[in-house]
């Protein structure tokens, strides 16, 4: 277990460039993220947000630069990283129970057939309870609401007791009440387990009260810092390369002149 303990930053990127099919996606990105930080990744579509997550998961390699995740180069199947990809619409008649979906997070990658195991069952129950979804355990996944499905994906990502949680647009397609519910849930879990979280969102407002720093990406470049340092007319105008106006009112940010 001691191998998991390290005192450096959770994520360290140095001069990272990524090209996908010769198209540059990340351009000289450097950043460090410390243990327990709650980071919101923002930016327009195609800015490289998902690419950054895939980079940390070891699914793609940078064309240059160095990456350290929890003190090591990224590698696929790292149990110290929990990942919930951008949520798709699940078919209503998908033949899978909530319990089965969450269970994938525990041993879905192992070869062979899984035998019934009370310890496995209680671990899944525990993860379901953590996201307040124990009563949904036996329900077919496709019957659940978007917010419920999102909670299950988070439970699945938590099953390996990760130190780092990567969540790609967990708030998309949720109404305000469910957004707040999911945000409160993620923040509570991250604090309780000292988990570092990187969360992609198009909207900072529902996350403002839990966010430590914002990583804003546009046109392959990025800026990182506290929300009111990064989400400013000056920084966003620089990132987008065109005039962007940020208005702060009622404790919320409103961005005018740019697609988020």
């Amino acid at each position: 277990m001691t191998a998991l303990i390290h005192n450096g930053p959770v994520i360290a990127l140095e001069h990272v460039n990524v090209e996908l099919g010769r198209v540059p996606v990340l351009n000289d990105v450097s950043l460090t993220i410390e243990e327990g930080e709650f980071i919101v990744i923002m930016g327009p579509n195609g800015a490289g947000k998902t690419t950054l997550l895939r980079l940390l998961l070891g699914l793609i390699r940078p064309s240059s630069g160095s990456i350290q995740v929890l003190g090591d180069p990224p590698r696929r199947g790292n149990p110290a990283i929990g990942y919930a990809p951008q949520h798709r619409n699940i078919e209503a008649d998908l033949p899978l129970r909530a319990r089965d979906l969450v269970g994938f997070g525990l041993d879905g990658h192992r070869w062979g057939i899984g035998l019934p195991d009370p310890k496995r069952r209680s671990k899944i129950d525990q993860a379901l309870a953590e996201v307040d979804a124990l009563d949904l355990a036996e329900a077919p996944v496709g019957q659940l609401s978007g917010g419920e499905q999102q909670r299950l994906l988070i439970a699945q990502a938590l099953l390996t007791n990760p130190k780092l949680l990567l969540l790609d647009e967990p708030l998309a397609n949720l109404d305000l009440a469910h957004q707040q519910e999911v945000v409160a849930l993620i923040a509570r879990i991250c604090r309780a387990h000292c988990v570092t979280a990187l969360l992609v969102s198009h909207d900072i407002n529902p996350l403002l009260h839990v966010t430590d720093r914002v990583l804003f990406m546009a046109r392959g470049r990025s800026a990182i810092g506290a929300p009111d340092e990064v989400i400013t007319s000056h920084t966003l105008t620089q990132l987008y390369g065109s005039p962007v106006e940020v208005i702060q009112a009622l404790g919320r940010f409103f961005v005018v002149g740019a697609e988020l």
Partner: protein, 302 residues
């Protein structure tokens, strides 16, 4: 009726039918949940060309079946993930293969029975050697499927997370299609290439309408496949009608009421999901920018 069981050809039919039904039921479950049922159907039709070619060349049809179905399954696994494009490509190759098959048959000046049996199966004429071969084959298939089971299930339902968790998603998918090709080559003896859906997809499609639990659905698919096969053989042995007719009739006859009656609530509760997450998000963003309240709950419950 049960005195029939004394005849060796009936015993052979039962044994061969059973091993095929078990393998087909299990593989069929994954075909259905992976959305590959059309590929399964196409594989068997492509196999027809192979079988006809083998007959023309004077070898056992199963060799032609194996060569063509395995080749086609490799090609399908190289095709992209986009279902529409993939199915068009599969369909084009399938028709081409059927054309080849009919050419081979017209060039072959032997008994038309051969073609008939490839198309519709010859379970009552199966030899003991074929039974043993089918049993060994089926056991091997099930053993390999058991090894692949969890990663295959994971990647069938959530390929992206499975990949991130270290599952070799493409490799597992390709291995599964090759297993399907092998199972089809075997199942053709029982129901023929045209009726393969009856044992491969019918039981699994019915099973997933009855349960959302993967293990239970697989067991149910196997049970239904066995029931169709046994009943089909018994009914055929007591009539002049072909076995494969009874099997396909049973498969359809069970699927239809299950489809109509099961999970009615599910279709009623059709969720008003937005077309794409992207446009919805942008709409919400714009609404926020101009100070509109956000959209109402898009979901009737939860």
């Amino acid at each position: 009726m049960f005195t029939l069981l004394q005849y060796p050809f009936i015993q052979n039919a039962f044994l061969a039918g059973s091993v095929v039904a078990v393998a087909a039921g299990l593989l069929g479950y994954f075909l259905v949940v992976r959305g590959l049922t059309f590929a399964g159907h196409a594989l068997s039709n492509i196999g027809f060309a192979g079988a006809a070619g083998a007959v023309l060349a004077g070898v056992h049809p199963v060799y032609g079946l194996l060569a063509f179905t395995v080749g086609a399954s490799l090609a399908i696994s190289l095709l992209g993930k986009e279902i529409r494009q993939r199915d068009i490509a599969i369909g084009v190759v399938m028709t081409f293969s059927l054309g080849m098959g009919i050419l081979f048959l017209s060039l072959y000046h032997g008994y038309a029975e051969q073609a008939y049996s490839i198309l519709f199966g010859t379970i009552l004429g199966i030899s003991q050697a074929d039974v043993l071969a089918s049993a060994a084959f089926s056991l091997a298939l099930i053993a390999i499927l058991a090894v692949l089971a969890r990663p295959l299930l994971f990647s069938s339902f959530d390929a992206e997370v499975a990949e991130a968790r270290g599952v070799p998603v493409r490799l597992v998918g390709a291995a599964f299609l090759i297993l399907t090709a092998l199972a089809i080559s075997m199942a053709v003896q029982v129901v023929g290439v045209l009726l393969i859906f009856a044992l491969l997809v019918g039981p699994a499609a019915t099973a997933i309408r009855l349960t959302a639990r993967p293990v239970k659905a697989m067991a149910l698919a196997v049970g239904l496949g066995l029931a169709y096969t046994w009943l089909g053989i018994l009914l055929a042995a007591n009539s002049t009608w072909p076995v494969s007719f009874f099997i396909s009739m049973l498969s359809f006859g069970v699927y239809l009421p299950v489809r109509l009656l099961s999970r009615q609530g599910w279709t009623r509760e059709l969720k008003a999901q937005p077309g794409t997450g992207l446009s919805q998000t942008q709409l919400v963003d714009q609404a926020e920018m101009i100070g509109l309240p956000e959209g109402k709950d898009k979901n009737p419950h939860g």
